[in-house]
């Protein structure tokens, strides 16, 4: 029986919750994420339900990985500033966030990243569309539009959480 498998998959950044759900479905069916690459997920065999997998946007290299390891989580890897962790289910529940404020903080971080890249694409796109020598400006404008759409999706998630926070923590 093969012990490893690779799945290539494109996932939009605003679908990070869906991605996490998918990775945990894989772990439930006996394949746990072991290595992460660009649109490339490498799994290894495990007992079904042995692991819980979590991912988080955490661009800073500030000792966070070590902190997570201290709490019993295993670090799988890093891809485009997203960090992937897993923990054995028998070692207790594994979540990265336990209150609404920190979930909102995480969405803010994602929003900031999307609007940063989005604005850069918009500026480059506009500059290129004025320049008659360059005909590829529309690609940047398309990217900017897409990123703005993503920003809207993140904003929607954030609003839902903020509404909840009006009543409880």
């Amino acid at each position: 029986m093969e012990e490893r498998k690779v799945i290539r998959k494109w996932i939009w950044v605003w679908d990070f919750e869906k991605e996490e759900r998918w990775l945990n479905e894989m772990a439930q069916s006996g394949w746990v994420l072991d290595k992460i690459g660009y649109c490339r997920f490498e799994f290894k065999r495990c007992e079904p339900g042995e692991y819980v997998v979590r991912l988080e946007l955490h661009p800073e290299n500030d000792g966070y990985v070590e902190f997570m390891q201290e709490t019993g989580a295993e670090y799988i890897g890093n891809m485009l500033q997203w960090k992937y962790f897993r923990k054995k289910a028998e070692e207790g529940s594994f979540d990265i966030f336990s209150d609404i404020d920190s979930r909102i903080g995480h969405l803010n971080k994602i929003g900031k990243m999307l609007s940063g890249i989005g604005t850069a694409n918009l500026v480059i796109g506009l500059a290129n569309s004025i320049n008659p020598e360059v005909h590829m400006g529309w690609i940047n404008l398309l990217c900017a539009t897409l990123l703005m759409y993503g920003l809207g999706r993140i904003h929607g998630k954030k609003e839902a959480l903020e509404k909840e926070r009006l009543l409880h923590e």
Binding site: T71, D95, I96, F97, S98
Partner: protein, 105 residues
């Protein structure tokens, strides 16, 4: 200092756990124990809170022990005052609740 600070439950238990120096995982375990398993601080939430509390000056990191390499934190005077104010607020909360709902018991 602003007298009307309302702490989140996470912040309250983190500060309470740091009455004695403690590292991250220790804080998670202590909050879990103190609340009979009701407050489970997740690592990312705790990490963000520790940084924010250091910035506010309510806690300080202790010099890192070379052997264990685990970073420990401790409550400051300022943090202790915040905790005391919060306890006062919580007392009032309980008192008012009990007074108004006394017939329900």
């Amino acid at each position: 200092m602003n007298e009307n600070i309302v702490l989140t439950e996470s912040t309250y238990y983190i500060l309470l756990s740091l009455y004695r120096p403690q590292h991250g995982y220790g804080i998670m375990q202590q909050a879990d124990q103190l609340s009979d398993g009701r407050v489970r601080l997740a690592a990312g939430t705790l990490y963000g809170a520790l940084n924010a509390l250091c910035e506010k000056g309510w806690i300080v990191p202790l010099p890192v022990d070379k052997e264990s390499r685990k970073k420990e934190y401790k409550l400051t005077e300022k943090g202790l005052q915040v905790l005391k104010n919060e306890l006062e607020r919580l007392r009032q909360l309980v008192k008012n609740g009990e007074e108004i709902l006394k017939e329900e018991r």
